[in-house]
């Protein structure tokens, strides 16, 4: 019969006798586990940050831009032609089944004045679909009415940065501001989104009805044309389908014959960012894999010390066998010793790893994410390392001949 509690007691005593050696052996596992935890925390933090940024731009986004134009043999860049219209946006919303909503964009920079304050910002002419497309809630006020878009009402919705710079602590709702000397009434204030992936301040923005923007602010554009159209697909799975439907619809609407090039560009924003997220996930796994190599090296350290320990304690093994220890008792004793070493090392490593990750986040400002999964994984792995690398020395000990072992000096 195997008596596990007393075997654990024997193992603990043996480890306590060689404190320094046990501590140094553990160090290998401690460093290994701590490295895995820290690397996973940093890697997951990075990919989590990217996911968050995807969420601030709005999920499942597609952007439609006009194509390039050729004028007298000179090719202008993408987005130069004025062939996308509000009607295109409406058509995409109504006719593409994979699309949930759209928002036209006609933007430009403008100087804004309120009282004795002024500020330069980007003004976006759009419609009531914009807030849904960008998943952007209002902190106060209301969205545009459809009728305001149609009639070209002089109303606007402000981003947080604009509010802070113009109004300070005043309530901006129902106040009049002047954009390019045209008075607008503030009907809503957006919640703060913070920086974009490129480091731009997303809150430095004003939304006005697209018709008003065309008529009163950016008059050089043909009536009805827009700079771009933002499209929100039904779901992540529907993104590719939506892209295809938009292309087909626009080719038809713009009367582009087969074989002719598109006069517009469709870009899948979300897909690009998801690729970035995937890349950073792969990076995180790679870091963890490199870190786990050090865990493996720690395991080899355990095996090394256990082999020394078995040789050193040959006489003890002989005595135990003489008084009735079976092969399995001896094997279990040494495996338990190895596992205790690696589990204690693992525990300290987990704590140290969390500490190191917090340190990085505090002093270097890195985003970290310590998941239960990574803690359980690396702790469990350290236990497995103990069993794996403890087995051979334990097996060697259990095969000893008691007579020779007793005679060993």
């Amino acid at each position: 019969m195997i008596n596990v509690p007393s075997t654990v007691k024997i193992s603990l005593r043996a480890l306590r006798v060689n404190k320094m050696r046990s501590a140094l052996t553990m160090l290998g596992i401690i460093i290994g586990v701590a490295a895995v935890i820290t690397m996973l925390a940093v890697g997951r933090g990075a990919s989590n940050k990217i996911s968050e940024q995807i969420a601030t731009v709005g999920s499942n986004l597609i952007i439609v831009l006009p194509g390039s134009t050729m004028a007298s043999g000179i090719r202008l860049g993408s987005g130069a032609s004025q062939n996308l219209t509000r009607a295109d946006a409406e058509a995409i919303k109504n006719e593409c089944s994979a699309v949930s909503t759209t928002a036209p964009i006609l933007n430009g920079s403008a100087q804004i004045v309120y009282g004795n304050q002024n500020w330069a910002t980007t003004v976006f002419g759009t419609d009531e679909g914009m807030l849904e497309v960008r998943e952007w809630p209002l902190s106060s006020g209301r969205n545009f009415y459809e009728q305001e878009i149609r009639s070209g009402a002089k109303v606007c919705i402000l981003g947080r940065t604009v509010v802070d710079n113009l109004f300070g602590n005043d309530d901006p709702l129902h106040k009049a501001i002047r954009i390019k000397k045209v008075p607008f009434v503030v009907i809503g204030v957006l919640e703060s989104k913070g920086q974009s992936m490129m480091g731009q301040d997303q809150d430095d923005i004003i939304y006005v009805p697209v018709s008003t923007a065309q008529r009163n602010l950016f008059g050089r554009w043909f009536p009805g044309t827009v700079r771009s159209i933002m499209v929100k697909a039904e779901s992540t799975e529907a993104l590719e389908r939506a892209e295809k439907q938009i292309k087909e619809l626009l080719r038809q609407r713009h009367r582009i014959g087969p074989g002719q090039e598109d006069d517009f560009t469709v870009r899948n924003l979300t897909q690009m960012m998801q690729m970035a997220e995937q890349a950073s996930n792969v990076m995180a796994l790679l870091l963890a894999a490199i870190a786990s190599v050090s865990l493996l090296v720690g395991g080899i350290g355990i095996m090394n010390i256990m082999l020394v320990s078995v040789t050193e304690r040959t006489r003890e093994i002989g005595i135990r066998m003489a008084v009735g220890a079976k092969s399995w008792d001896i094997r279990l004793q040494f495996i338990i010793e190895a596992v205790i070493l690696s589990l204690i090392g693992g525990l300290i490593g987990v704590l140290l790893g969390i500490l190191a990750a917090e340190f990085l986040s505090f002093f270097a400002g890195w985003t970290i994410l310590i998941s239960t999964y990574s803690v359980v994984l690396s702790f469990g792995f350290s236990g497995l390392v103990g069993i794996f690398f403890g087995f051979y020395p334990a097996y060697k000990a259990s095969l000893m001949n008691p007579i020779d072992a007793l005679r060993h000096e």
């Binding site: 066998m321 003489a322 008691p402």
Partner: protein, 229 residues
Amino acid sequence: MALIETDQLEKKYEVGDSIVHALDNVSLQISAGEFVAVMGPSGSGKSTFMNVIGCLDVPTAGRYLLDGIDVGRMGRNALAEIRNQKIGFVFQGFNLLSRTTALENVEVPLLYSASTPKDHKNKGREALKLLGLEERQHHHPNQLSGGQQQRVAIARALVNDAPLILADEPTGNLDTKTSMEIMELFVRLNEEKKITIVLVTHEPDISTFSKRIIRFLDGKIVNDEDNKR
């Protein structure tokens, strides 16, 4: 019924090209309650005999019955169990676990038997008390004298209530006075607790404590007679 019964026991070793007969046709019986001294010069086979009797080694040929059980062809783990239950060992070099207290040393055989940890302390203390060492139970071997260490070893041999004690030169590392004390202890255990004792020695003074003396030479029994104390 004899506690130990061997029938034409043989043990051969191959050393290079030649074969050494460490045990050659050894047949004997030792009854329960006997006190036997095994004597002989070095290389006479007495140590091999003790190893086989103690279930640490298996014979090449012949039969060995311990307490009616044929142990000659048993596997490692079965032999370990027999050693645990039936035999207590006392060695010349004491063979105590260093850095382990006297009490814990005595408890070692109990770790490998079916008893519960609660019994361990009680049984261990009892055995130490029997040998007058209860005051020293928390001392480590290096804090004890040779005689005391050997008494701890005897307590360890007694703790599982084994019917047989095998002692291999138990006084070899002790001075004369302490040797006499240890031998008197064996006599007492033999007479009061009816424990069978088989003892290897090459000192005639020590063998006089036994009731029967078996002499080995070249792997054979050359003399087997009762001893009058």
